[in-house]
């Protein structure tokens, strides 16, 4: 419903820009699903969104708003580049090693924000946003002129490419479809199992739903917060690593991956912070990204309409009261209600 309403509202914007919404949206659909390559592009775009979206969802389940996915994803990429351009081990070792390095970097960064919250009461929204800036500036320096990671003799800010041994294998040769999607789907299953079938998952969810009850049943809340942030950031970092390991030219440039971190927030919310929902909403966002170019080409619609569309979808999901009153839907009584404003200024 939210998606439908968002399509309607953005149709108005398309009409205002002088184009035909039907033409635009059909071009969008063709661009996303029309050919094998387009479909692959949708999946490729969705892959980091699934993984980072899982990270955001996991944090939400634990009552934490990890808005620092962008920074954690970046640091995951850059550390993956650092390891993958320096170690040239056999592929069977090197691929996991580089992934692990990226995940660990994201985990450490997020865990630090978790530590600040648990022990010093600094709200994670503030600290993770700050971390985003810090990471961005460090990377800008590192790949800037004379930066330590700058590819020698390159005229644009970029790093060297990963060794062949650190690159993800392709699923279908001569396409861009890499192993990442398999890892992403496995992670979705893993996060589901973690959240709903393990002791740790139950504890994360108790802390997320009721901090007081968590203390009452004897959960170590502080440790739990740090751990939840670490897991969340680890997923984000892994998403970043997989981007540089899976997509040519297998390096890091400025402008690369920008916005995936923030899109993954939208993906998690749209997917009602459930691993299965995250997969589908990530595919939807991936499809919009993949189809945008064809839409611009065929319907002469500015590509920014996609951003508008995504923004509207998110708004209608977050403000679901609007949707419910528009279509006279009953209020949900599900366990999965997203509570974005918990723990502001508390504890």
């Amino acid at each position: 419903m939210a998606i439908f309403t968002a399509l309607l509202v953005s149709s108005i914007a398309i009409l205002l820009s002088g184009a035909s919404p039907i033409k635009a949206f059909s071009a969008l659909a063709v661009g996303a699903f029309g050919t094998r390559d387009n479909l692959i592009e949708t999946v490729v775009k969705a892959t980091p969104l699934i993984i980072a979206g899982l990270g955001v969802a996991l944090a939400f389940r634990g009552g934490l708003f990890n808005i620092g996915v962008e920074g954690q994803l970046f640091i995951g990429s850059i550390v993956a580049v650092l390891v993958g351009t320096n170690f040239d081990l056999p592929k069977i070792i090197n691929v996991p090693l580089v992934m692990l390095a990226g995940a660990l970097a994201g985990a450490l960064l997020a865990a630090f924000s978790g530590y600040l919250k648990a022990w010093h009461g600094a709200h994670e929204v503030i600290t993770t946003i700050m971390m985003n800036y810090i990471v961005l500036r460090i990377i800008t320096w590192a790949i800037g002129a004379n930066g330590p990671l700058r590819k020698p003799l390159s005229i644009v800010p970029e790093t060297r490419s990963l060794f062949e041994s650190a690159r993800l294998p392709l699923l279908i040769s001569d396409t861009r479809l890499h192993m990442g999607i398999v890892i992403a789907l496995a992670l979705a299953a893993g996060v589901y199992f973690l959240l709903f079938r393990t002791v740790l998952g139950v504890e994360i969810r108790i802390v997320g739903k009721n901090l007081h009850a968590a203390k009452y049943v004897g959960i170590n809340v502080k440790r739990n917060i740090v751990l939840t942030m670490a897991l969340s950031g680890g997923l984000a970092g892994l998403a970043g690593a997989i981007q540089v390991m899976g997509i040519p030219p297998y390096n890091f440039t400025t402008g690369f991956n920008v916005g995936y971190g923030f899109d993954s927030l939208a993906v998690a919310v749209l997917g009602s912070i459930h691993p299965v929902g995250v997969v589908f909403s990530a595919l939807l966002f991936g499809a919009m990204d993949a189809g945008a170019r064809l839409m611009q080409l065929r319907a002469k619609v500015p590509i920014d309409i996609i951003t508008l569309l995504q923004g509207l979808i998110l708004m209608f999901v977050a403000a679901n009261q609007i949707i419910r009153s528009l279509y006279h839907l009953p209020a949900p009584s599900k366990e999965d209600s997203v509570n974005l404003t918990q723990s502001w200024g508390g504890e």
């Binding site: 079938r197 002791v199 998952g201 009721n210 009850a213 049943v217 004897g218 366990e335 209600s337």
Partner: protein, 522 residues
């Protein structure tokens, strides 16, 4: 019946449903001038819904409201006030940082002149005089310049009553006003109510406490399952009869229990002092020895250190000094989980805040203390079948009324929520049961059931520490009673020799047992 005048207020055939639940089922209700009519019923009987309809917060599906024989439409509380209906809510609706005068002015700010509209200067003095006049008229003395947060609970309630009088109410609805009061404050409130009706007001008094009904009512209307099941008067009725009407079956009003057989000391508290977050000493040199197989009741007005004492024993709060020993193990600085694992069960004061995760299912809430232990888990992975099996078992054994084991616990009534906690805490092997306000806000049926379970636990050799603001509960369950006032244990006695009045005096600090310290420290 006071007189033969026409009713000042009539409700005709009021019906209100929420979805498939009929909260009020064609209710007829008459209130005559200058009477106190009690609206008696269990939680969920439909009392609050009916009053909210009368106060304009809900609209009835059917039926009409007549005031002085005139049909009226009440769309919102402002309409109700205009018609002379005022409500004193169970939870105070006062701004703590403002003075009494300012609180009364809220919503109807009197100004000196009206030259600047909303920006005109407030006319505090006139209102102040009116408060003093009202107070003298009805025996409701309150200092108009006092800041509300400095007032006692009883005083704050007087301010609430003043507020509706100030707004010109003739019909007062008092929604469970005694829930927060000491026995002394309660009788003062009854004085005030009588003086109000003498001065021409009429009162609807909502309660589920049977003793109060007989003490203060002129007439009684009993509500059950959304229907009026009886009209009576105190003279024609008895506590037993009212309970039968209210619950629909015979209930045991006082718990029956046999002789206690105290065994070894389970909980030993030595010279415990606790500082609150704001560095105030809230518990001072508290010592207590609790034995297996006895119930020790701690009486006291809320806010005299009981909550902090319980939090310290259960590990939720770090004490300032002193020792807590459970079965020869010093747990003064142990974590809540370590304390749970030595065999302590804790039924917390605020069941929704601490005791349950409202967004989780009944089944999950039933294993909240044991989900990480066999048979529910191997330490890492949870076995959902075991959790479900356990839920089916406990729902059956403890008579938890829930649509299913997967229903969210937030959808259960208060009594059933409490049963979930009791079921969870009592199903483990325990030596010590700490139970704080076990029946607050529950209906008679649930209270009876929970009391029975507490006594059963005692008879199995569990040491029970009971904290309750309900004196009747303390008196009927405890083997020994201690009274807390201002963070100190001011009296300790055998339950057999205790009575309400004496406890009431200790609770308000007007009496103190001097020999107490020596007795305990021997």
């Amino acid at each position: 019946m006071k007189n033969n005048k026409d009713p000042i207020l009539s409700l005709h055939n009021i019906t209100k449903s929420f979805g498939s639940v009929v909260a009020n089922d064609s209710i007829y209700f008459d209130l005559y001038p200058q009477e106190i009519q009690v609206l008696l019923g269990e939680n969920g009987a439909g009392k609050s819904t009916l009053m909210k309809i009368l106060y304009g917060m809900y609209q009835a599906d059917q039926g009409e409201i007549l005031i002085n024989q005139q049909k009226v439409v009440i769309q919102d509380p402002n309409d109700a006030l205009r018609l002379g209906i005022g409500m004193v809510h169970q939870h105070f609706m006062l701004v703590p940082v403002m003075t009494v005068t300012e609180n009364l002015m809220l919503g109807d700010e009197k100004t000196k002149g009206n030259a600047f509209g909303k920006l005109s200067k407030l006319d505090r003095e006139t209102v102040r005089q009116e408060i003093i006049a009202l107070g003298n008229k009805y025996g409701l003395q309150v200092n108009p310049d006092a800041v509300v947060e400095d007032l006692s609970v009883g005083e704050a309630q007087r301010v609430e009553i003043l507020k509706v009088l100030y707004k010109g109410a003739d019909i007062l609805i008092l929604d469970e006003p005694t829930a927060v009061l000491t026995p002394q404050e309660t009788s003062e409130l009854f004085e005030i109510m009588r003086s109000l009706i003498k001065q021409g007001k009429s009162i609807i008094f909502i309660t589920h406490k049977l003793k109060e009904v007989l003490a203060v009512a002129d007439r009684i209307a009993v509500l059950r399952n959304g229907k009026v099941v009886g009209h009576t008067t105190p003279a024609e009725s008895s506590i037993e009869e009212l309970a039968l009407l209210m619950v629909g079956r015979e209930v045991l009003l006082t718990a029956t229990k046999g002789q206690s057989h105290p065994g070894k000391v389970v909980l030993n508290i030595k010279d415990l002092s606790i500082k609150s977050k704001s560095e105030v000493m809230v518990v001072k040199n508290f010592s207590l020895q609790l034995r297996a197989g006895e119930i020790y009741g701690i009486a006291g007005v809320q806010g005299n250190g009981q909550s902090e004492l319980i939090e310290a024993i259960t590990g939720l709060m770090q004490p300032h000094s002193g020792h807590i020993i459970i079965l020869n193990k010093d747990v003064t600085h142990s974590s809540p989980r370590q304390i749970t694992l030595v065999g302590t069960a804790h039924v917390p004061e605020d069941r929704q805040k601490h005791g349950l995760v409202l967004g989780f299912s009944v089944a999950t809430n039933l294993v909240l203390q044991t989900y990480y232990l066999p048979p529910f888990s191997n330490g890492w992975v949870i076995y959902p079948e075991k959790v479900e099996e356990n839920a089916d078992e406990k729902i059956d054994e403890f008579d938890i009324r829930t649509p299913s084991r997967d229903a969210l616990v937030s959808n259960l009534s208060g009594g059933n929520q409490q049963k979930v906690i009791i079921a969870r805490e009592l199903s483990r092997p325990i030596n010590l049961l700490i139970i704080n306000q076990p029946t607050r806000g529950l209906d008679v049926g649930s209270i009876e059931y929970i009391h029975k379970r507490i006594i059963e636990a005692r008879d199995k050799g569990v040491a029970v520490l009971l904290v309750s603001a309900e004196l009747d509960e303390i008196l009927s369950l405890s083997d020994r009673i201690g009274v807390m006032y201002a963070g100190e244990l001011v009296a300790e006695m055998d339950a057999k020799g205790a009575n309400r009045e004496q406890l009431g005096l200790y609770m308000t600090g007007s009496k103190k047992e001097k020999m107490l310290k020596e007795n305990i420290n021997q």
